[in-house]
Structure formats: structure tokens, C-alpha cells
């Protein structure tokens, strides 16, 4: 079945206030900027946002933050946007900080039917405080829970009609993992090509993970 095609504005109809959203990208590379801008223009609010960064000041998710619509941010590196620190200090948002490898694995687990996993990362550090730790073969591991979302907003390079995705260089980053870990996946792409024209060996995200396509 072909993926549903919408404009960025129309695609926002699938999002509800209070949703948990995953948003792809590392820095501003691989962020679905058109989708984020369309989200900023809605009246929707109270989001838990799972994303490596919360944009930069006034850019990408930084816009959503500055309009007071993020209730909680889950990610690894919010230092790129000092506005996150300010909002946190003022008690306007909750923040959950994870090591980046733990963040990725939590996304992968979330999309793979694995509720939690043990990782050596952060064992013996403040980021493991309050988390279950267990020793395997003499090494300490931390129990981390999977991440899942209602909706993911991701960026890919090309899609075919079915929604098979290929990515572009280091803009791939968290996008394929988020497509797996959300109930509904909205993808911003540079181009949609006919079914059968993407090399099947090059497809990174099979179409079954993709629901809605928006051209950028």
C-alpha cells in the first residue's frame, strides 16, 4: 500500500497535544525542519520530545521550545541550545539526559520489542544514579529502558511511493531508529521516486515503518 502523501501542514493533523514525539537529527543535520516549522505553527502543546538536541537558539526545535510547548525533553546533548538550560533553570521543562549510545540503543530496543537492556555505559557515574545495576562476568552494567513514541518526525533523502527510504550522508543519524520506535512515522523527504527505482540493496528503512510522506 502506498504511503500517504500530505503537505507538512496537513501532516500535523496526526499529532495530538500531550503526544510523545521523536524528532531526528544531529545538530541541524537530518532534522525535518519543514515538519518542525509546521508543528510550531499549530496550537498543539505539552509534548515530550525525544531528540538528540533541542535545536539551536531559535532554530529547529528551538522554536518549539521558545513557544513553551515542550513539557519534557529526552536526549543527549542540549548544550547546543542555551535556551534549554534557561527553561530548565526556570522550571519550565523537565530534562532527561542519556549517554548517546544508550539513547540509540533505547530507540532500537523500542522498535524491536525489547523493554530494557543492560549497558556498561555510565556504570559508576551520576547518570546511573537510581538505575538498577548488575554485574556480568565481573563488569558492572546499567539497566536502561526502551524509548517509544506516539509519532516520529524524521528526515530522509528519497522515498519511493511505498515509503522505502534512503538517506544522505551524516544526515541519517537517528532517523532510521526513530522510524522503528514510533506508532506513526511522518517523513520529510527531498524527493519521491516511483516504486521499483530505488536499489533494494540500498534501502535503509523498509516501507512498513513509514506512514506519511511530505516533500521538503
Amino acid at each position: 500500500m502506498p504511503a500517504i502523501r500530505k503537505t507538512a501542514e496537513e501532516a500535523m493533523e496526526y499529532i495530538r497535544s500531550g503526544n510523545t514525539l521523536m524528532v531526528g537529527g544531529f545538530g541541524l543535520s537530518g532534522v525535518p525542519l519543514k515538519l518542525v516549522d509546521a508543528l510550531v505553527k499549530t496550537d498543539l502543546t505539552d509534548f515530550t520530545v525525544i531528540s538528540n538536541n533541542i535545536g539551536t537558539p531559535g532554530q529547529g526545535l528551538g522554536k518549539l521550545l521558545n513557544t513553551g510547548r515542550i513539557k519534557k525533553a529526552v536526549g543527549t546533548y542540549f548544550t547546543t541550545n542555551p535556551d534549554v538550560g534557561t527553561a530548565y533553570q526556570q522550571g519550565k521543562i523537565e530534562v532527561e539526559l542519556l549517554p548517546q549510545g544508550t539513547f540509540c540503543e533505547a530507540l532500537r530496543a523500542g522498535g524491536s520489542g525489547i523493554p530494557a537492556f543492560y549497558t556498561p555505559t555510565a556504570a559508576g557515574t551520576e547518570l546511573a544514579a537510581g538505575k538498577e545495576q548488575r554485574v556480568f562476568d565481573g563488569q558492572s552494567y546499567v539497566l536502561e529502558k526502551a524509548l517509544k513514541a506516539d509519532v516520529s518526525l524524521i528526515k530522509a533523502h528519497k522515498a519511493d511511493d511505498l515509503g522505502n527510504l534512503v538517506y544522505y550522508k551524516t544526515a541519517r543519524n537517528f532517523n532510521p531508529l526513530m522510524a522503528m520506535a514510533s506508532d506513526l512515522t511522518i517523513v520529510e523527504v527531498d524527493e519521491i521516486v516511483p516504486k521499483g527505482t530505488l536499489d533494494p540493496e540500498a534501502v535503509i528503512t523498509p516501507h512498513l515503518f513509514v506512514d506519511i510522506l511530505v516533500t521538503g
Binding site: F26, G27, Y77, G101, T102, C104, E126, K169, F174
Partner: protein, 225 residues
């Protein structure tokens, strides 16, 4: 305050710790300078945690691609044989023990090989990034850092007072004055700059360390400041 010459001196010495054929991830700060000093006859394969192997040098300004960046969000280029992968694969490479080495900066290092590199007490720090995974996973962790803070305070301590990045994961510590090795919770001096005595080094190094019987004295005149 440290000069660029001191930072380059540390990077040059840290580069000598790499081995031909190594898969390497370079952290931010002084470690990024290491790339300038890799011996020309070495094949070093650079990995960046945002999803690429065979990272090439910074491109000329007219060929910058905003979607081809390293983990410091700086533009990079692609060498022949490059590959791209998602962040999950990238951290499997790191945490799974598939990196031969990482060169990483530090705020503090303890005599047991603990590393503190991401947070300062009393300040809200909302970024940890990939450092914890890198240090836990890489086969060799080479810390490249100035011997003292920019205010002249010691960084190489009996135990870290800042929040830890990882416990007992540092293998080699390179500063402008010395090189230390770590094994089973013990720190050993293996190289000292000819510009200072062992007593002078001990005076700026609160951490307890042994001295290797084959201690090398190295010429590091650019380190004097």
C-alpha cells in the same frame, strides 16, 4: 592560559600513540588536532559517532556540505572507502569494542584511570553526548590534555572531584610535560619532558604514580611557557 603551541605539542605526542591500521575516534578540543600529526605512511581510519567511517579532512569553503559533518558539527570530507550508518550502528562500533583507540580530552583524570570530562559541580550541564560510550568501548583510551587547568589548578588527581565519565578506563595520558600509562588501577610515568625534573612534575601532579624503569626523557621545548 595555554598557547596553541602547547596544544599542538600534546596532539603531536598523542598521535605517536596510534598504530598503523587503527580505527580511531577523535574527541573534541586537542584531540581534533591529532589528525595533523598522524605519520604519512600510516593508514588510520577515522570514525565519527554521528555515523561515518573514513572521515576526510576539512573541505575548502566552496565544497562544504551541511549534511556531511563530524560530531563537533564541523564540515568534513569523505575519503575513498567511506561508509555511512545510523547512530545505532555507530554506537555498536564504539560500545562493542570495535574501535582500536580513542583520543579524548579531560577535565580531570585520577591515578586509578577514572575520567571526568563532561560536567562541573554546581553548574547545570545538559549535555553528555557520546563520551561515556566512547571511553567504555574503545580498546585503548588515550587522554590528551593540558597538565593543569587554564587557571593553573591540577587536573591529575588522587581521585576525581568532578562527575565521572567512566571509571578506570584511561589507558594512556599525554600532557605537555609527560606521558603516563594506567594498568589495574595504577598510574606509571613512562615519559617526561627534558624541560622539567621529576620533582617539578610531582609538584604539579597530586596523583600518586610510579616511575617506569625504562623512563624516557623527551625533548618538548615547545611545551615551556
Amino acid at each position: 592560559m595555554y598557547t596553541q603551541e602547547v596544544r599542538h605539542s600534546i596532539a603531536r605526542r598523542a598521535a605517536q600513540e596510534l598504530r598503523d591500521g587503527d580505527i580511531v575516534n577523535l574527541g573534541i578540543g586537542i584531540p581534533t588536532l591529532v589528525n595533523n600529526y598522524i605519520p604519512s605512511d600510516f593508514n588510520i581510519h577515522l570514525h565519527t559517532e554521528n555515523g561515518m567511517l573514513e572521515v576526510g579532512p576539512s573541505p575548502s569553503p566552496d565544497s562544504v556540505d551541511p549534511n556531511l559533518i563530524n560530531a563537533s558539527r564541523q564540515p568534513i570530507s569523505e575519503l575513498p572507502g567511506a561508509s555511512y550508518f545510523d547512530s545505532g550502528m555507530s554506537f555498536s562500533i564504539m560500545r562493542g569494542g570495535h574501535l582500536d583507540a580513542t583520543v579524548i580530552g579531560a577535565l580531570q583524570v585520577s591515578q586509578a584511570g577514572d575520567l571526568a570530562s563532561w560536567a562541573v559541580p554546581g553548574r547545570t550541564v545538559l549535555g553528555v553526548g557520546g563520551a561515556m560510550d566512547l571511553v567504555v568501548g574503545a580498546k585503548r583510551v588515550i587522554v590528551a590534555t593540558t597538565h593543569l587547568t587554564k587557571d593553573g589548578n591540577p587536573k591529575i588527581l588522587p581521585s576525581c572531584t568532578y562527575p565521572l565519565t567512566a571509571k578506570q578506563e584511561v589507558d594512556v595520558l599525554v600532557t605537555e610535560h609527560a606521558v603516563f600509562h594506567f594498568s589495574e588501577g595504577q598510574m606509571t610515568l613512562v615519559e617526561i619532558g627534558e624541560h622539567l625534573t621529576l620533582e617539578e612534575l610531582k609538584a604539579i601532579t597530586p596523583a600518586g604514580f610510579g616511575v617506569h624503569p625504562g623512563l624516557t626523557v623527551a625533548k618538548r621545548k615547545e611545551a615551556i611557557h
